[in-house]
């Protein structure tokens, strides 16, 4: 008994700090969610009533609708590209020792370090250079935008898959080989299934990172085209009605859905 009484203050403090952390994380999300239903003409407290009109308004605006579709499109392509390049890259980095290994690893990680606005400018200038030399236009095109987003998403896939590969017991792969599986079959039937949680998580993060990116996309979208974050920024320049909260709510719901869906297939807590 004495132990539990003594432990009580510690436990209370623990629960309080956990509660506080959750509050800080969730309060802005809840606020945005709440505001999106306000009848007020500008975002302000207290609410003068509730309406779904802002959701209808968001959908009726071409910028948001097209931006949403474009962001979805780019996000999916970035995810696929990030996995197609990132998984083999992680395999090479985790399993082989070759010249320039450290350099390649650092290059793949660099999008995490370089500020997005700088990277966006750099990629834009790079595309213009390419166009000058080869006549291939990348700036202001969908392929150019997707390519930049693949680079943006790569560090997540590479880091997660590499970490997972390091934890894989090599003897299990050797067991497959002694049982008659060649290198390709071993990879396909044993290695990849063993790192599946990391691959799924890498894909998820790639999608989210691409879906919410603003800085890079600003430089790379074509004239008149915009991703959802760009549409939000543009709209904010002229109006501060709750439409913006409605759009953000939809964005939050989509990402939450992606997280929950992923968690059904692989326990995300097992990846981290």
């Amino acid at each position: 008994m004495a132990v539990s009484i003594r432990a009580l203050p510690g436990r209370t403090a623990f629960l309080a700090s956990v509660g506080f952390a959750y509050l800080i994380i969730l309060a802005p999300l809840i606020a945005v969610f709440w505001v999106s239903f306000f009848r007020n003409k500008i975002i302000a407290f207290p609410p003068q009533g509730y309406t779904l009109a802002w959701f209808a308004n968001a959908w009726s605006l071409d910028d948001f609708r097209n931006g949403f579709v474009l962001s979805l499109e780019v996000g999916i392509i970035a995810t696929l590209g990030s996995l197609l390049i990132g998984v083999p890259a992680a395999l090479a980095l985790a399993r082989h020792d070759f010249r320039g290994r450290e350099a390649i690893s650092a290059a793949l990680m660099s999008p995490l370090i370089v500020p997005g606005i700088v990277a966006g400018t750099a990629v834009y200038m790079f595309y213009i250079e390419i166009e000058t030399w080869t006549d291939v236009q990348l700036a202001a095109t969908l392929p150019g935008l997707c390519l930049a987003h693949v680079v943006l998403a790569l560090p997540w896939t590479v880091r997660l898959v590499t970490a997972s590969l390091i934890g894989v017991n090599r003897l299990v792969e050797e067991a497959a080989m002694t049982l008659g599986a060649g290198p390709v079959k071993t990879l396909w039937r044993v290695t990849l299934p063993m790192i599946r949680p990391a691959i799924v998580a890498g894909g998820l993060f790639s999608f989210v990172v691409s879906f919410v990116d603003l800085e890079k996309s600003l430089f790379l979208v074509g004239p008149g085209r915009m991703t959802l974050p760009i549409a939000i920024i543009n709209y904010l320049e002229w109006s501060i009605d709750p439409t913006i909260a409605a759009v953000a709510t939809i964005q939050i719901l989509i990402i939450s859905a992606a997280l929950l869906l992923t968690d059904r297939f692989v326990r995300l807590s097992r990846v981290f």
Partner: protein, 352 residues
């Protein structure tokens, strides 16, 4: 199933020689144990036979087939890893079926063989479990079933029982033995556990620093060790330093004269060597047993009760110590500080 022949097999890692020019033949259906302390090269040999490690030099034959240059997946071997290395994402049945699927057998045949392999290792009821839902002993059986179901030319076991507790180890030892006999499969088992090697194998190879120290049956190694290393590694022994003075006579540095019958090839006469005898071959009592050739007197220093036997530490007048294992119920009670006479035969005495 086939005879396995290793010819001048060698493995170097940089300048380190892990296995030095080793030649060995394992007969069809034989159960051979590679025994030695860690780092003696025994696992490297197993990995070279399986193809997971490339040999620096030498050749490996399975029957008439030269497999030296073949990758592991083309060798047809069953390897049971230390720690089992089961596929964590596959059920027990899928684990066992894997090797058969790689051989592109038809589904009916695979199902049939998986079922019978699981029955052989008494796991038929657990076919749909995942490895992490099994106990250590059950995982071991799955690894065994996975290795034998492909009907390999050779079954290779790498410290197969080291992760299990003592009771389970004994049980599985019996099972491996029975399985190996009924399948008649050529088997090589790597272990550092002498008890495991002695009880499983029909022939043992004792390794030391990448070289073969001695090859023989369990009783060969125990009764006629070829070197002090073998005598010390397998069972317990008493040793006294000295030299051979006649065909069957050894004089210790402290002046005792012992008669012996076995002398290893390496211990040549008149050079410094050791005389050895096993603790359980010694009779301990107040009077000498005149029927035995060797005698020495001393004082009991310590007594340890071990259940089936009792261990006596006996100090000789020369201050050397001998260990004696005697039955737990001696004819005459012996206590610490008692003067005793130790007697043992010349057959039980070897020079290394």
């Amino acid at each position: 199933m086939a005879k396995i022949a290793l010819e001048n097999l060698e493995k170097r890692f940089g300048s380190f020689v892990a296995v030095e020019s080793l030649s060995l033949e394992i007969a069809d259906g034989e159960f051979l144990a590679l025994l030695g302390p860690s780092g003696c090269g025994k696992t490297t040999i197993l990995r070279m036979i399986s193809g997971l490690t490339e040999a620096t030099r030498g050749r490996i034959h399975f029957g008439a087939r030269d497999v030296t240059g073949l990758p592991p997946y083309a060798r047809n071997i069953g390897l049971v890893f230390q720690g089992y290395a089961l596929f964590p994402h596959m059920t027990v049945a899928e684990n066992v079926a894997f090797g058969l699927e790689m051989r592109a057998l038809d589904r009916g045949e695979i199902g049939h063989r998986v079922h019978s392999a699981l029955e052989t290792v008494q796991l038929a009821g657990l076919a749909s479990r995942l490895p992490r839902q099994l106990s250590g002993g059950q995982q071991q059986r799955v690894a065994l079933a996975r290795a034998i179901v492909i009907r390999p030319d050779a079954l290779l076991l790498d410290e197969p029982l080291s992760a299990l507790d003592a009771k389970l180890r004994q049980e599985l030892r019996q099972e491996i033995r029975r399985l190996q006999r009924s399948l008649g499969i050529t088997t090589i088992c790597v272990t550092h556990d002498q008890e495991e090697a002695l009880s499983l194998a029909t022939r043992l190879v004792v390794m030391h620093h990448g070289r073969i120290e001695q090859i023989g049956t369990p009783s060969d190694l125990y009764e006629r060790p070829a070197s002090r290393f073998v005598a010390e590694f397998i069972g317990k022994s008493n040793f006294l330093d000295g030299r051979v003075v006649a065909k069957d006579e050894f004089v210790t540095k402290s002046g005792f004269v012992f008669r012996f019958q076995r002398q290893s090839a390496r211990a040549s006469s008149h050079e410094a060597s050791s005389v050895g005898f096993r603790p359980e071959k010694i009779e301990i009592g107040r009077a000498r047993n005149a029927a035995l050739a060797n005698h020495v007197e001393g004082t009991v220093d310590a007594i340890t009760y071990l259940g089936a036997t009792t261990e006596y530490e006996v100090r000789l007048p020369s201050l050397e110590r001998l260990t004696v294992h005697a039955g737990a119920n001696p004819v005459e009670p012996i206590g610490i500080g008692d003067e005793v006479t130790l007697s043992w035969s010349s057959e039980a005495t070897f020079v290394v």
